[in-house]
């Protein structure tokens, strides 16, 4: 286990992050190796649950909103 650092803590729980296409995501939960997000539109959480692996390209493209 020692070599498996929980990289999701590079992201803030309940933080807002912007994707390259402008979509804003709120990280509502971080499970063992997954960030769980919902899209934020007009201040509201919308749509289905979005799962992002914290080491994925999609995660790397997120910037703090």
């Amino acid at each position: 286990m020692a070599n498996k650092i929980m990289v999701q803590h590079l992201f803030k729980l309940n933080g807002l992050y912007k994707e390259p296409d402008g979509k804003v995501l709120k990280i509502v939960l971080s499970e063992v190796y997954n960030l769980r997000c919902f899209e934020v539109k007009d201040g509201n959480l919308t749509g289905p649950l979005i799962k992002i692996h914290p080491e994925s390209d999609r995660a790397k493209a997120l910037v703090e909103a």
Binding site: M1, A2, K4, I5, M6, H9, V28, L29, E31, V32, Y33, N34, R36, F38, N44, L45, T46, P48, L49, K51
Partner: protein
């Protein structure tokens, strides 16, 4: 005659319900079919005398507690509230005065229509809020009176009251007070409210453990909280391997008599002294992990000096000293200490490693801290060395997420389940154990936020009622369950209800529990079996205080709680009731967002991982979903990261754990607590060094001269809080539970034969437990299973049956918490201590109450509505139950044939 099978889930676990012609015929566990996934397999030691290695896998069924299988009896129960009811002498005065509030508890009721009851409730809300402001209404729920994410108290109830605006009542962590208020100051875990992390420790135990310490722990009774009997098999496996089980409890409890290799029965409230005696042996004999403590302990030597008698009290806490306090022979304490230290030992207190009755004593915080310190001394986190009490830590797919009840993401009060989150505009609060004090005195101050998972500093926030700028409370809406059997010194709740300060009282419940009879308006809710909901077995909420509590199960099961039968009599779902009131207040559409209960259920499916695993149609048709555990599941053993010094890899952890630190100020096990030195250096109940302190109501207090017995009231075996036992006469036939005598089910209280002989008490006699706070009539069980100074009677009686209704008179229903002290653990420790109760006991030689006191009010209303109605006693004694089912069946068949 077609049989319909639906599924549901209650606090006792998931169930399958067979209905025929609109009535429930049978309830059974859910048996998994060939399409459900394989169970996990753990490779470990074999049974004694078996092959070298063995594989362990769970039975292919959900394993609910027996109380879940009595849901049929509970649905057609004698004490169902059948109709909306209004207190007969309630007067709707325009100013809220002169409403005969002194008669609450005494008055009888009349049947009302739903429109009449709901219109009255809406009028009173409008009047009171217009007169005093939104804060004038307060509301409170019982814990876990129903299961399911729509109907749960943090969902529908919270949505309604937050939208309304009200004075919130903060819950206290009443099941594990000492661990909440104590343990975080030794090892952090405030975000788990003092509980430890048990991830993957079942495998660790099966592979490594040699001794189990079951301290104040009766797992077959408390069932890991909400996990039914899922973990019973695990403990059998350990037993069969030859693991030694040592039980420490003033009551030789049901698990202990089945399994213990050795039982220790300490004098109640002295467990912290036993901890110190064990520590003394380890320190003087060098039987602890010095390297581990040198690396991970903070100010250990100062604490060790105290144990060795070099502290201010100059008293060595040796086994002889501990014997004086606990009553356990010094030789036994030495043997226990040596066994613990020389074998791989796991253990814990109470149902999830950090709960248990010891935590609910005056010295509960110190016991919790000392217990953590003992496990730290043996290298907590190393294989086979951990806090783990045999009820949690099964393999689980941590990457499957479905919400649990305490998860803010899984409540209809909040986004994303709701389109709009409901926000309470009122900041004023009350504290649950002291609601009567606040209402009666008009002023109350306390520390803490109840559940303080957001930070250790929250334990020390100051609250005052009424909050500056706010008015006092004048309306109380009580929802589900009863505090007469679960809170403290509960006769004071009677005084509160009868106070004119409370101008209006509403009670909304399924059954006519102890507090319903004090209400002005009673609103009948239906059971889980009569409405739609959705829920997961044992999921209290990932990210919540018991994150991943489903590891208390062998299987992760999400259940579609289908409506098995129509709501009985005039009862309605809680959601319907709140929606109706909201409609009358002008915001019904905002409350429902246009959704039915079934629509809300679907929201939980579509906002979780469940929608990726199974379609809505397949899920609702099958009725449940079992989440598979991958064959090579990711192991994240609790505390291993800390012991072995790698960044924390367990779920639900904090960023500082990735630096290898605990959640204390120093990041280490604090044997002298820096957080207490900072926040509360003068705290008399929680000193910076955790020490045994004789209870303020215990064997060393002056009061013991008058009241020599010590009452313990553990979590109940035949109830879940106040549910089931009270409404399920089938369970009263168990001799260890209650004895039905002339219309009343007397609770069993246990007494040692030596003391029984002194008092002239024989097994089966009626005995009166009493102190200055009240008296409760019970039936005696004379048994060597209790420590000699102890009276044992399970807490949480849902039956409250005072012989003089409406007065603080003798109770024959078994509400032993009438006798418990209202005093909190300490001036800065707002935990309750029901297991620090002194009392005396006598053989009862008065006339046996001959009337069935407690439900005549229900009979009156039922007979008004239907002259052929079944009375409570008819239902209890059998024939009324069948009559109800026959009537429901006739109505159902008539409706179908139309």
């Amino acid at each position: 005659m077609a049989e319909k099978i639906t599924h549901s889930i209650c606090v006792g676990g998931p169930i399958a319900i067979h209905t025929v012609d609109g009535v429930i015929r049978r309830i059974r566990p859910i048996i998994f079919d060939n399409n459900d996934p394989k169970g996990w397999v753990i490779k470990a030691r074999s049974k004694v005398g078996g092959a070298q290695d063995a594989e362990y896998t769970p039975n292919r069924k959900a394993q609910p507690a027996f109380i879940a299988l009595t849901e049929k009896n509970r649905a057609y129960s004698y004490d169902r509230i059948r109709y909306p009811m209004i207190r007969e002498d309630f007067v709707e005065t325009p100013d809220g005065k002169n409403r005969n509030t002194e008669n609450r508890g005494k008055s009888e009721y009349r049947r009302a229509s739903w429109d009449e009851a709901l219109d009255l409730v809406a009028r009173e809300i409008k009047r009171l809020q217009a007169t005093y402001g939104k804060e004038t209404i307060t509301a409170c729920t019982g814990s876990h009176h129903s299961w399911g994410l729509v109907g749960y108290k943090l969902s529908t109830f919270a949505r309604f009251f937050r939208m309304l605006g009200y004075t919130e009542i903060k819950d206290n962590p009443d099941s594990w007070e000492g661990f909440t208020w104590g343990a975080p100051h030794t090892y952090g875990y405030y975000w788990r409210l003092g509980g430890t992390e048990a991830f993957d420790l079942l495998e660790d135990a099966l592979q490594n453990v040699e001794t189990m310490i079951m301290w104040s722990h009766d797992p077959d009774t408390t069932r890991g909280g909400y996990a039914g009997n899922e973990s019973t098999m695990w403990r059998h496996w350990l037993d069969d391997m030859g693991v030694q089980f040592i039980y420490i409890d003033p009551y030789n409890n049901f698990s202990s008599v089945k399994q213990a290799d050795k039982w220790f029965g300490p004098r109640p409230g002295t467990d912290a002294a036993l901890c110190e005696g064990i520590a003394h042996v380890w320190i003087t004999e060098g039987l602890y992990d010095k390297e581990y403590i040198a690396k991970h302990g903070h100010r250990f030597d100062e604490w060790a000096d105290y144990i060795l008698g070099k502290g201010v009290d100059k008293t060595p806490k040796d086994p002889k000293w501990a014997e004086e306090e606990t009553g356990i022979p010094a030789a036994d304490i030495k043997a226990l200490a040596r066994r613990w230290a020389t074998t791989k030992t796991m253990g814990g207190s109470g149902l999830r490693g950090g709960f248990g009755g010891v935590c609910r004593t005056a010295n509960g915080t110190e016991f919790a801290r000392l217990m953590v310190q003992l496990f730290a001394m043996q290298g907590m986190g190393k294989p086979g060395q951990n806090i783990w009490s045999g009820t949690t830590g099964a393999p689980m797919d941590y990457n499957f997420w479905f919400g649990g009840y305490s998860d803010p993401l899984s409540q209809i009060a909040n986004q994303p389940i709701a389109d709009k989150t409901a926000v309470n505009p009122v900041t004023q609060k009350l504290y649950r154990p002291n609601v009567p004090d606040a209402i009666l005195d008009g002023h109350y101050e306390w520390y803490g936020e109840g559940f303080c998972g957001g930070g250790i500093d929250l334990e020390f926030t100051e609250h005052i009622y009424p909050e500056p700028g706010y008015n006092k409370v004048h309306m109380f809406w009580r929802y589900g369950g009863t505090f007469m059997g679960t809170m403290l010194d509960t006769n004071k709740w009677i005084k509160m209800y009868q106070s004119p300060e409370l101008e209006f009282v509403v009670n909304q419940d399924i059954h006519f529990h102890g507090e319903a009879r004090f209400a002005d308006v009673i609103l009948p809710a239906c059971t889980n079996l009569e409405r739609y909901d959705i829920g997961e077995l044992c999921n209290s909420g990932n990210g919540g205080y018991q994150s991943h509590s489903q590891t208390g199960n062998s299987w992760q099961v999400v259940v579609f709680q289908d409506k098995a039968i129509e709501p009985l009599w005039d009862s309605q779902s809680d959601y319907w009731i709140f929606a109706q009131v909201a409609e009358r207040l002008g915001w019904g559409k905002d409350f429902t967002e246009g959704r039915t209960e079934l629509d809300w259920c679907k929201r939980f499916w579509e906002k979780s991982d469940l929608c990726e695993r199974i379609s809505w149609e397949d899920f609702t048709k099958k009725g449940y979903y079992v989440a598979p555990v991958p064959e090579n599941w990711e192991r994240h053993p609790g505390f291993r990261w800390f012991a072995e010094g790698y960044p924390c890899d367990t779920p639900n952890h904090k960023p500082f754990q990735e630096e290898g630190k605990l959640g204390t100020f120093t990041g280490k096990f604090e044997f002298v607590s820096e957080s207490l030195l900072y926040f509360a250096p003068d705290d008399e109940a929680r000193t910076p060094i955790a020490t045994y302190k004789p209870s303020w109501e215990g064997h060393r207090s002056i009061k013991a001269r008058k009241y020599p017995f010590h009452l313990i009231t553990p979590h109940p075996r035949f109830d879940y809080h106040t549910q089931h036992n009270s409404s399920t006469p089938w369970i009263w036939e168990i001799p260890e539970n209650r004895k039905y005598i002339e219309g009343n089910p007397y609770l069993v209280a246990r007494i040692h034969p030596e003391k029984a002989a002194e008092k002239g008490i024989k097994d089966g006699d009626l005995i009166l437990l009493f102190n200055e706070r009240g008296s409760v009539l019970c039936v005696a069980r004379v048994t060597y299973r209790v420590e000699v100074n102890t009276i044992h009677a399970y807490g949480s009686s849902g039956i409250y049956n005072p012989t003089v209704p409406g007065e603080a008179s003798m109770d024959i229903g078994g509400c032993v918490n009438i006798l418990s002290p209202g005093k909190l653990m300490g001036s800065k420790v707002p935990g309750m201590a029901p297991n620090s109760t002194l009392l005396d006991v006598v053989k009862y030689e008065g006339e046996v109450p001959k009337t069935q006191y407690f439900e005549y009010k229900l009979d009156k209303v039922a007979l008004q509505a239907d002259p052929d109605a079944e009375t409570c006693v008819e239902i209890i004694e059998g024939h009324g139950f069948e009559k109800i089912q026959a009537k429901v069946k006739a109505a159902y068949v008539g409706k179908v044939s139309e």
